[in-house]
Symmetry: C2
Subunit: 202 residues, 2 copies
C-alpha cells in the first residue's frame, strides 16, 4: 500500500539546507555536505561501523519502492536545471504551485505536472500515479511541513549527516500542535551517515 514518505538528509543540528539558498548554491551555504554520501564521496571522518555498501542499499531500496514524487515549487525551480534530462526520478513528479504551467514529459519516465489546487490534490494525483508504490516528498522542508500538519505523512527517513550548518531551513519545526508520535522502525549505519526511519502514529 502506498506510503507518503519524507526522505531527506539532515544535519545533526536539524537543517535540510544551509542558509542563502540560490540558483548557484541550491543547497545553501555548506548544504552540499548533506548530499555527499549520495554521490559516494566518503571523505567524512568515520571510525564507526558503517560501510559504503550501506549507502548503496539505502538508495536502491528507495528507487525500488518509488512510484511518484511531490515537490514544492521552490525546490522544483532550483532543481529543474541541475536535474537535467533524463531527470533522476523516472516516475511522475507533481509540483505544488500557485502558478500553473503545462505538463512536461521528460526522458526515462519522468513527467512534471503542476498542481495548483493544493497539497491534497497533488497527493491524490501522486497516489494514483504511484499505483501501489510509495510517494516521496522531495526537497526543502516547507512542503513536508504542510503535509505533516495535515496529518498526511506516513513515514520519515532521515539521513543524519554529522555536520553542523548553524543556520538554514529546519526540518522539524512548524509541525502544528498535533500529537503525532513517532515509532522508530529502522537504523542503518553507513559510512558516517545514520539512516533513521520512523513511522508517524496518530
Amino acid at each position: 500500500v502506498t506510503q507518503l514518505i519524507y526522505d531527506v538528509s539532515m544535519s545533526l543540528d536539524g537543517f535540510t539546507t544551509g542558509p542563502n539558498v540560490r540558483p548557484e548554491e541550491p543547497m545553501g551555504d555548506g548544504g552540499e555536505a548533506l548530499h555527499e554520501w549520495m554521490a559516494g564521496r566518503t571523505d567524512f571522518h568515520d571510525r564507526g561501523g558503517g560501510t559504503d555498501a550501506a549507502h548503496v542499499d539505502v538508495r536502491a531500496e528507495l528507487s525500488e519502492r518509488l512510484g511518484a514524487v511531490v515537490v514544492g515549487r521552490g525546490t522544483f525551480d532550483l532543481g529543474e536545471q541541475p536535474w537535467g534530462d533524463p531527470p533522476p526520478f523516472g516516475v511522475p513528479v507533481f509540483v505544488v504551485t500557485h502558478r500553473t504551467r503545462a505538463t512536461e514529459v521528460k526522458q526515462g519516465g519522468t513527467t512534471y505536472t503542476f498542481v495548483i489546487d493544493g497539497i491534497t490534490a497533488a497527493l491524490d494525483q501522486a497516489r494514483a500515479a504511484a499505483a501501489g508504490k510509495d510517494v516521496l516528498i522531495l526537497g526543502g522542508a516547507t512542503v513536508f511541513q504542510e503535509y505533516f500538519r495535515a496529518g498526511l505523512v506516513d513515514e520519515l527517513q532521515i539521513h543524519l549527516v554529522p555536520v553542523l550548518l548553524h543556520a538554514g531551513v529546519r526540518m522539524l519545526e512548524n509541525l502544528g500542535d498535533s500529537n503525532a508520535r513517532l515509532e522508530r522502525t529502522r537504523v542503518i549505519e553507513s559510512t558516517s551517515v545514520t539512516h533513521l526511519r520512523f513511522r508517524v502514529i496518530r
Copy 2:
C-alpha cells in the same frame, strides 16, 4: 586521558528540555519523555532492532568512565532536591555559578563545589578531580554551548529519542562560528533510542 563529554538525551527535533522548565517539571512540558529510557521504561513503540539490554550497557559504560561532573547553576538548582542524598553521581560535581556557596559533601562520594570564576576554572578543577577519567557536562544545553564555543568539548553522546517536543531548549545552537567538525564514532541502537557518539575535531 580525560575527555570532556556532553552526554544528553535529545528529542528528534533537537530539544534537550521542553518548554516551561520549572521546579515541578524540571524537564519542561513533555520533556520527561526524554529520560524514560534511563528508567527502563520501554513503552515506546519500537519495531526496530534495539534491545533493552543496550540501555543498560550505555549507562554502565558512562558510570565506569565517570570521574567528575560540571553543571550549570540552573540545572543544579532544579536538580538538587530530586537528586537527593546520596545523589546519583558518586563523584565530585562542579557547579558553574555567579553566586558562591560552601562546598557540600553528600553521601556516596558526591561533593558539590561552587565555582564562580568561569567555565574554564570549573573544568580545570573537574579534570584534576577526575584523575584520568572523563568529565561529563550535565543538564540543559546552555553550559554545554559555552564549553563548545570555547573549543573545550571533546565528545558528544546524544541519546536520540523519537519524540517531538516542538519547543524548549535546543541542544545544537549558539555554537559560535567555529569550524568544528564532527566524526561519528559509534551508533548503538536500544529500544526506540539511538545512541550516537561523536568526536569534535578542530
